[in-house]
C-alpha cells in the first residue's frame, strides 16, 4: 500500500488555493489561459498561443499538436456529443468515421477513439502545458462551448474534462466569454452583438449586459462556416485559374491559400512568387461574398429573435481570426451603423473571458460579478404523431425547471416511452433525441385518464435532468434520468478506467486532498455563519448538535482516511441542513423590504 504524505501545516493552506484556468476548446485550435488580478497569461506550446486541436498517433502514443502526420485527426469537435445515428446531419470532411457503435469512432494507429476520448487528450495536453509553467497541476477550469451546443454536446465536453481529472467550474458559451473579456474593464451596459467567425464555425449572439449581468438574448450559428471554408473556396479558385497546381500536395495547396488569405487582410493584392500565383482583393471578396452574406443573414435573424431594436445595440464585438478580413468590417459597417470593437486579439479573446470567469468562480475575484446564461435550445418530449412538445423554451434563463402533464393514448396502457428531445422544430425528425426511457407500472385506465407529470430541471451549465411521476393511483412512480445519448454508465466507466492520464496513486492522493479541502471548507463556512447569526437562528440544543458534528469532522481530518472524513463531512452536512436552510430563507429578508418577514415565511 502506498504511503500517504502528510503535509505540514503551511502547505495545507496551499491546498486551498486552486489553480483555475480558462480553456477555449476550439475546432481548429485551442487555448489555455490564467487570470490572476491584473495578470493575464496565455500558456504557450512551442511558443504558440494557438494550440492546434489535432491529435496524432506516433510511436504508440497519442500526441496533440500539428505534427503534419498523416495519422492524425483534425476538427474532432465536430463529432463531440454526436451519436452515429446523427452523423448524416454532420459534415466531417476530413474524418474517417466508424459508425458501427452508438458513439462514432475514428482510427488512430491501431486503435479507434471516440470524440470524448480525443477531446480529453487535447484538454490533458493543454493542462500539461499550463502545469509546466506553474509547477502545479490544474484543478479546475471554465471551458467554452459554442452558444448553440446542445445538452449532449455539453455533457460530452464536461465528461472529456472529468476523464482527465479537471473539475469543470462552468461551461460558458464562446460569445459570452468574448463579451466578458471586453465588458469587465469598461463596465459597459447595453446590448451587444458578438460576431464570431472562427476556423471552422460561425456564431453570432445578441447579449444584454447590465450591472455585471450577462444575458444571452439569442444565438444563431452554423457549425460549418469559417476560415476553413474560405480556404477551401480559395483552393478551388486557385485550381480553376492555375490548373498546374493540381500536382501540389493537398497540405501545400492549403498553406498557399492560407498565406494568400492572410496577405489580403492588409493588402489589395496577394502574390506568391514560389508558385507564381496572385489574387486581388476584389476577386477574393467576390469569391467569399456568399459566405459573408450567410453570416449577415444569421446575424439579422439573431437580432429579430432577440427582440432588440438594432438602434439599441451598442457595439459589435469581433471574435475569431477570420474577422481580420476587411470585407467583414466594411459589410457590417454598411448594414449596421454600430461601433465595432476589435481592439482585443480576436484569436485569444474567448480564452481571456474564460480565464476571467475562472478567476471569479474559483472565488479569487470580485464578488459582484454574475453571469446569467440561458438555455441554448428548447427541450421537449415526443408526443403522439412524432411531434415535439416543448417543456422548456430556448433562451429561458437557467437554472430553470418546468413541468408538463401527459396522458396515455390507449385504454389499459401501462407503459409509456418518454423520448426527450432538443431542438426548435416541431417535427421530431428535426430535433436531437437526448435519450429515451420507459415509465412502467402506469395503472390500467381508459385512454387519457392517467396523469403523468414530467418535470425538466436544467442546471446552471444547461444540463438536463428529467423526472416523471404517475399520480393518478395512490401509488407513485418516480423515475429520474439524465439523458445519456449513447453515453451509457458502463461506457463512461470504461472510458475513465482506460484513460491512462493519471496513476492510481495520484488519483487516490488527489481524492484525499479534495475530501480534506471539502471538509475544511464546510467547517469554515459553518463557523463563519455561526459567528453571524447562531444567536438569532438556533436554540442551545441545536447549536450543540452542530458543534458536535464540527468536532467529529475535525477529529476525522486527523485520521487522514478518506472514508472517515467523507462520513464525518456527510454527517455535518446532514446535521446542519436545517440551519443552512434557515439562513437562506433569512437572507431573503434583506432583499424583501417593506414587509415583515413573518408575514411571508
Amino acid at each position: 500500500m502506498a504511503l500517504i504524505q502528510i503535509s505540514d501545516p503551511d502547505k495545507s493552506i496551499e491546498i486551498n488555493k486552486e489553480f483555475s484556468v480558462g480553456i477555449d476548446l476550439g475546432t481548429t485550435h485551442s487555448l489555455i489561459a490564467k487570470k490572476d488580478g491584473e495578470n493575464l497569461t496565455f500558456f504557450k506550446d512551442n511558443s504558440n498561443v494557438l494550440i492546434p486541436s489535432i491529435v496524432s498517433h506516433e510511436n504508440g502514443k497519442l500526441i496533440v499538436g500539428d505534427l503534419n502526420s498523416i495519422n492524425s485527426v483534425k476538427s474532432i469537435k465536430r463529432l463531440v456529443g454526436v451519436t452515429s445515428k446523427e452523423l448524416h446531419a454532420i459534415n466531417f470532411e476530413d474524418l474517417e468515421v466508424d459508425s458501427s457503435e452508438d458513439l462514432p469512432k475514428v482510427s488512430l494507429g491501431n486503435n479507434k477513439y471516440n470524440a470524448i476520448e480525443l477531446s480529453s487528450q487535447i484538454l490533458l495536453h493543454l493542462c500539461e502545458i499550463a502545469q509546466s509553467y506553474e509547477n502545479t497541476s490544474v484543478n479546475s477550469a471554465v471551458i467554452t462551448v459554442p452558444a448553440y451546443f446542445n445538452d449532449m454536446q455539453r455533457q460530452a465536453t464536461k465528461l472529456a474534462a472529468e476523464m482527465v481529472d479537471i473539475k469543470v467550474l462552468r461551461l460558458i458559451s464562446e460569445p459570452t466569454a468574448a463579451a466578458i473579456a471586453y465588458g469587465i474593464d469598461a463596465k459597459q451596459t447595453g446590448n451587444f452583438i458578438v460576431y464570431d467567425l472562427g476556423g471552422g464555425t460561425f456564431d453570432v449572439s445578441i447579449l444584454s449586459i447590465e450591472k455585471g449581468v450577462f444575458k444571452v438574448l439569442s444565438t444563431k450559428g452554423d457549425t460549418h462556416l469559417g476560415g476553413d471554408d474560405i480556404d477551401r473556396l480559395l483552393n478551388k479558385y486557385l485550381l480553376n485559374n492555375y490548373p498546374r497546381l493540381t500536382k501540389l500536395h493537398k497540405t501545400e495547396l492549403y498553406n498557399l491559400s492560407k498565406s494568400l488569405k492572410h496577405d489580403l487582410s492588409d493588402k489589395n493584392i496577394a502574390t506568391n512568387e514560389e508558385h507564381n500565383v496572385s489574387i486581388d482583393l476584389n476577386d477574393f471578396n467576390e469569391l467569399i461574398n456568399p459566405l459573408i452574406e450567410k453570416t449577415l443573414k444569421l446575424l439579422s435573424e439573431a437580432i429579430i429573435e432577440s427582440k432588440v431594436d438594432s438602434n439599441d445595440i451598442k457595439n459589435i464585438i469581433l471574435v475569431g481570426g477570420s474577422t481580420r478580413l476587411k470585407i467583414i468590417k466594411s459589410k457590417l459597417d454598411q448594414v449596421y451603423k454600430i461601433k465595432i470593437l476589435d481592439h482585443l486579439n480576436p484569436d485569444t479573446v474567448v480564452a481571456e473571458g474564460a480565464a476571467i470567469q475562472a478567476e471569479v468562480l474559483s472565488g479569487n475575484a470580485r464578488d459582484d460579478f454574475l453571469l446569467l446564461d440561458v438555455l441554448p435550445l428548447s427541450l421537449g418530449i415526443e408526443t403522439y404523431g412524432g411531434l415535439s412538445e416543448k417543456v422548456i423554451h430556448r433562451n429561458t434563463p437557467i437554472p430553470s425547471s418546468s413541468e408538463k402533464i401527459f396522458t396515455t393514448f390507449k385504454d389499459g396502457q401501462t407503459k409509456m416511452m418518454i423520448n426527450v428531445v432538443q431542438g426548435e422544430r416541431e417535427d421530431i425528425a428535426e430535433c436531437i433525441s437526448l435519450g429515451q426511457f420507459v415509465l412502467s407500472d402506469i395503472p390500467p385506465l381508459v385512454a387519457g385518464a392517467a396523469r403523468i407529470r414530467v418535470r425538466f430541471q436544467v442546471d446552471a451549465d444547461g444540463l438536463l435532468t428529467v423526472s416523471a411521476k404517475e399520480d393518478t393511483a395512490d401509488k407513485e412512480t418516480t423515475i429520474e434520468i439524465k439523458p445519456s445519448h449513447g453515453l451509457t454508465p458502463e461506457l463512461i466507466q470504461n472510458m475513465i478506467t482506460t484513460s491512462n492520464s493519471k496513476a492510481e496513486y495520484d488519483k487516490n492522493y488527489r481524492a484525499l486532498k479534495e475530501s480534506i479541502v471539502e471538509a475544511e471548507r464546510a467547517i469554515n463556512a459553518i463557523e463563519e455563519a455561526l459567528k453571524v447569526d447562531s444567536n438569532d437562528l438556533l436554540n442551545e440544543t441545536e447549536l450543540d448538535l452542530i458543534n458536535q458534528a464540527i468536532d467529529s469532522l475535525q477529529d476525522a481530518l486527523l485520521s487522514k482516511n478518506i472514508d472517515t472524513i467523507k462520513q464525518a463531512n456527510d454527517n455535518l452536512e446532514k446535521t446542519s441542513e436545517f440551519y443552512v436552510e434557515r439562513r437562506m430563507n433569512n437572507s431573503i429578508k434583506s432583499l424583501i423590504t417593506g414587509k415583515d418577514i413573518n408575514d411571508i415565511i
Binding site: L361, L370, S400, I526, I588
Partner: protein
C-alpha cells in the same frame, strides 16, 4: 415554510396586479440572482449548493412568468385557486367570429397596412387590460380568464403581423 413556498409576487416583493413595472421586476430579479445564483455557491457546502440551485431556479421561473402579461394573469388565477378545466375550450362565439374576420383582414391586406391593424389590436388589448384590473379587484376570476384568453389570441395576431 421556505423561500420556495413564496408566491412569485412575494418573492419579488411586488403587489399582485395585472400590470407591473418591468424595470422594477428586472431590478429585483438581478438583486435576487446576485444573492442566490449557483455561481455564488461553487465553494460552499453541498447543502448550500443544492438550496441555491433550487432557489435560483424558483427566481428564474418567477421572472419568466411575471415578465409576461398573459402568463402573469394565468398565475394570478392559479394563486387564487381558479382552476381551468383543460377539456373546455374557449367558448365565446362572438369573439371567435371577430377573430376569423380579423384573420381574413390580415390575409387580404398588404404589409403597409400592418402597422395600422397592429395599432387597432393594441388598443383592444389596452381596454381588456383595464377590464382585467376591475375583474381582479371584484374577484370575477371567470371573466378575468376569458379576457386573458382573448389577449392570447390578439398576441398571436400581432406575432403574425410582425413576421
Amino acid at each position: 415554510m421556505s423561500v420556495l413556498k413564496l408566491t412569485y409576487f412575494e418573492l419579488f416583493n411586488i403587489n399582485v396586479n395585472i400590470t407591473l413595472d418591468l424595470n422594477e421586476l428586472n431590478n429585483k430579479y438581478l438583486q435576487l440572482q446576485t444573492k442566490f445564483h449557483p455561481d455564488k455557491y461553487l465553494n460552499s457546502s453541498a447543502v448550500e449548493k443544492t438550496m441555491a440551485a433550487r432557489i435560483s431556479t424558483h427566481i428564474n421561473d418567477g421572472y419568466k412568468i411575471l415578465g409576461d402579461l398573459t402568463t402573469r394573469v394565468d398565475y394570478i388565477l392559479k394563486i387564487n385557486n381558479f382552476t381551468i378545466d383543460e377539456n373546455v375550450t374557449f367558448k365565446n362565439n362572438q369573439f371567435l367570429i371577430e377573430q376569423m374576420e380579423l384573420t381574413e383582414t390580415i390575409n387580404n391586406s398588404d404589409t403597409k397596412q400592418y402597422s395600422n391593424i397592429k395599432k387597432e389590436i393594441k388598443s383592444k388589448i389596452a381596454s381588456l387590460i383595464l377590464d382585467m384590473k376591475n375583474n381582479l379587484s371584484s374577484g370575477d376570476f371567470d371573466i378575468l380568464y376569458q379576457n386573458n384568453s382573448m389577449i392570447k389570441f390578439y398576441k398571436k395576431n400581432i406575432n403574425q403581423l410582425s413576421k
